[in-house]
Amino acid sequence: MKAALSRPETRWAYVFVLPWVVGLLLFQLGPMIASLVLSFTDYDLISPPRFTGLDNYATMAQDPKVIRAIGNTLFYTVLHVPLSIGLALGLALILNRITGRAAGVFRTIFYLPSMTPHVAVGVLFLFLLNGQVGMVNQFLALFGVQGPQWTSDPDWMLAGIVLMSLWNLGSTTIILFAALRNVPRELSEAAMIDGASTWQRFRSITLPMIGGALFFVVIVNTIASLQMFDQVYTMYFGNTQAQNSSGDAALFYVIYLFQQAFQYLHMGYASALAWVLFLVIAIITVIQVKVGNRLVYYEAEERSR
């Protein structure tokens, strides 16, 4: 250990990661510990916190809005993650086939939607999804389908939000595209010579070779979905009137957390909500990693089976 530290490059490595470590301790770990402590208190930001033991956690278990928010968030996650990754993979495959000068142009275009600020996307989709005059329903009408009231029917609001979420595929697409570029061409060519069909090549060569990247985007997208906030907040909670008339059909977990903290001044309760979310995300990620380890093939590892 000592020997390793004494090597100049190792020391430099630590110097380079130092800013991140300081940031983590100061801006992440500190507040996290503070919020853990606060989650056992009744705290309104103004007067000093009062210790209440596990009260906040007990209240959560009986709070119908928490249950509603969890349901909404899970529903969204279960729809958003596979859909977004499926679509992004499709886009990445298309990008991968484009060669020459046009390639750069298309890569830029495909990434462009991700440059739109989330707040702007939220507002934009409120217009697009509007059940009376929105373009989504105008498009559906071309096929004789009468579209639902995406923004005002509680049964369809989540579906509308999933539709909106498919706007921001840029990062996922780029990650998968980079992985696709790394798939050795020889493997595909060899399989082609052996008479493997396109689907067979995709299934048996491409997919396993990009398994690591796929696994990464599944985890990252799942976490982001569970933490969904800004776009939905813009659409349905941004001003008092919107908030008053949307009910809890679009109440996501983090939005409820925010309301508890800053609208109702229940900072202790909000901290408890945050910690439960943290634990849930941790558990889901551990499960994903366990399952992933069985499914994902990493080139670097030695296969001992």
């Binding site: 103004i46 929105g134 008339s245 059909a249 109702y264």
Partner: protein
């Protein structure tokens, strides 16, 4: 120098206001003070004229206006970190919750120290800025709710717009249906927009019920009269195409532009605050509209009033300058000057002006007798009379220690019923229990 003397004098009088830590610049005698505001913008002459009046009266106070709407997260973080602005501009409906938790200071010594003429404010506005028998804010505007009628829609339905009487609920329901236009499943005109859940307290009042007791401690949402009002309004919406479609339709409205729903014949009649009419006067002077009072079931006008207010947060560095600011911004003279600037500006632009509706009754007396002159546009001139007439019928939902939770409770109940997810009685009973619990727990 005079300003410095005034500030110093006010400090002596307001000794009790807040923790005056830090270098209380305003009182040190050097004369230089700083004042930071939050939640207030300078969008028009009504704002700028009054700010100028303050700067003129207190030339040595260095005013920093952080423009932008009130943001509760920014506000609370600032208070919690001990670095709040000196004076904050926010909706009056939230004052109770902040007062109960000590996020804002009582203003009683500010009022007495600087002799603020609180008696000039409308009684309903006074009531809305008081909590637990103390002043916690001073009121700004005084927004009244009236019924705005699209004459074309009324005539299409064979009704004289001026004769529309909201005390007759059956008649109103029939009229709503007649004024509605639906084509191929799409709403073209919303017959009668009752503005729910937002105006539920008004509908309840019209039916003889209050959502909250006078002292702000007993929730009354489970009163059958509240349920009846909500059922009725929900039925109105059902007969006009259903809430889901109507909501999507109203989401497309631009109330303040030339393409407002009255100019576009998209609404038959709606309950609205007078500022919508004021904006319409500026952009569509020839709009074919009539403004009538909203009446309760006994036929008496009923009007839920609201508006913004000024508060001083806990830990404000310069509460004395803040108090002077509040006094200046809400004083009758300042309001009259601002209203005059508005009238001049609209006259210069050749636009109709229906006046400035302030929380200061004394200012309004002058504004509507000396500043606002008939424009020659009968619809708007009559509107001014109607709005002025319903001002004294103004009521407010009392402040409570859990104002935010209380508001969310009844609004959620209203939305659930409108969306068809719950029956009124059940939704309101649940909301009642929830709001009562929140208020009990929040009592200081």
């Amino acid at each position: 120098m005079a300003a410095a003397a005034m500030l110093a004098g006010s400090l002596a009088a307001c000794g009790g206001v807040g923790a005056n830590k830090g270098p209380a610049e305003g009182s040190s005698g050097s004369g230089a003070a700083s004042l930071t505001t939050m939640g207030f913008g300078l969008p028009d002459e009504i704002a700028t004229v009054r700010v100028d009046a303050f700067k003129k009266a207190y030339p040595k106070v260095n005013v920093t206006i952080n423009q932008g709407q009130f943001n509760e997260q920014a506000f609370l973080s600032a208070v919690a970190s001990g670095n709040p602005p000196d004076v904050v501009y926010l909706g009056r409906d939230r004052i109770g919750g902040y007062a109960a938790r000590g996020a804002i200071q009582p203003l009683d010594s500010c009022v007495s120290g600087q002799s603020i003429a609180t008696g000039d404010f409308y009684p309903a506005a006074q009531k809305q800025v008081r909590f637990a028998d103390k002043w916690y804010a001073m009121p700004e505007f005084y927004n009244s709710i009236v019924l705005l009628v699209n004459n074309k829609a009324a005539r299409d339905a064979g009704v004289d717009p001026a004769s529309i009487d909201t005390s007759d609920w059956d008649g109103l329901a029939q009229l709503a249906k007649k004024m509605t236009r639906i084509k191929d499943g799409k709403i073209e005109r919303f017959g009668f927009y009752p503005k729910l859940p937002e105006f539920l307290p008004l509908w309840a009042k019209a039916n003889g019920a209050d959502l909250l007791s006078e002292d702000g401690r007993t929730v009354n949402l489970d009163d059958p009269k509240v349920g009846e009002a909500l059922e009725y309004a929900t039925g109105l919406l059902e007969s006009q195409g259903g809430w889901k479609k109507l909501k999507a339709f109203t989401d497309t409205f631009d109330y303040f532009g030339e393409g407002n729903p009255f100019a576009k014949d998209q609404i038959g009649a709606m309950l609205t605050e007078q500022f919508v009419i004021s904006a319409m006067a500026g952009v569509t002077p020839d709009a074919d509209i009539t403004v009538v009072p909203f009446k309760d079931r006994q036929g008496k006008p009923v009007n839920m009033v609201g508006g913004n207010a000024w508060v001083i947060p806990k830990g404000a560095r310069n509460p004395d300058a803040a108090c002077s600011w509040i006094k200046t911004m809400t004083a009758a003279d300042t309001w009259v000057a601002a209203a005059r600037a508005r009238a001049d500006k609209r006259a210069k632009e050749g636009k109709v002006n229906i006046g400035t509706y302030t929380g200061n009754a004394k200012a309004d007396e002058v504004i509507f007798s000396e500043v606002v002159k008939p424009s020659g546009k009968k619809a708007y001139d009559d509107a001014v009379k109607t709005i002025r007439a319903v001002q004294e019928a103004g009521f407010v939902v009392p402040q409570s220690a859990a104002a935010a939770e209380f508001n969310t409770a009844w609004q959620d109940a209203g939305t659930n019923v409108l969306q068809g997810r719950q029956k009124a009685a059940q939704a309101l009973a649940e909301a009642d229990a929830k709001a009562q619990k929140a208020i009990d727990e929040a009592q200081p």
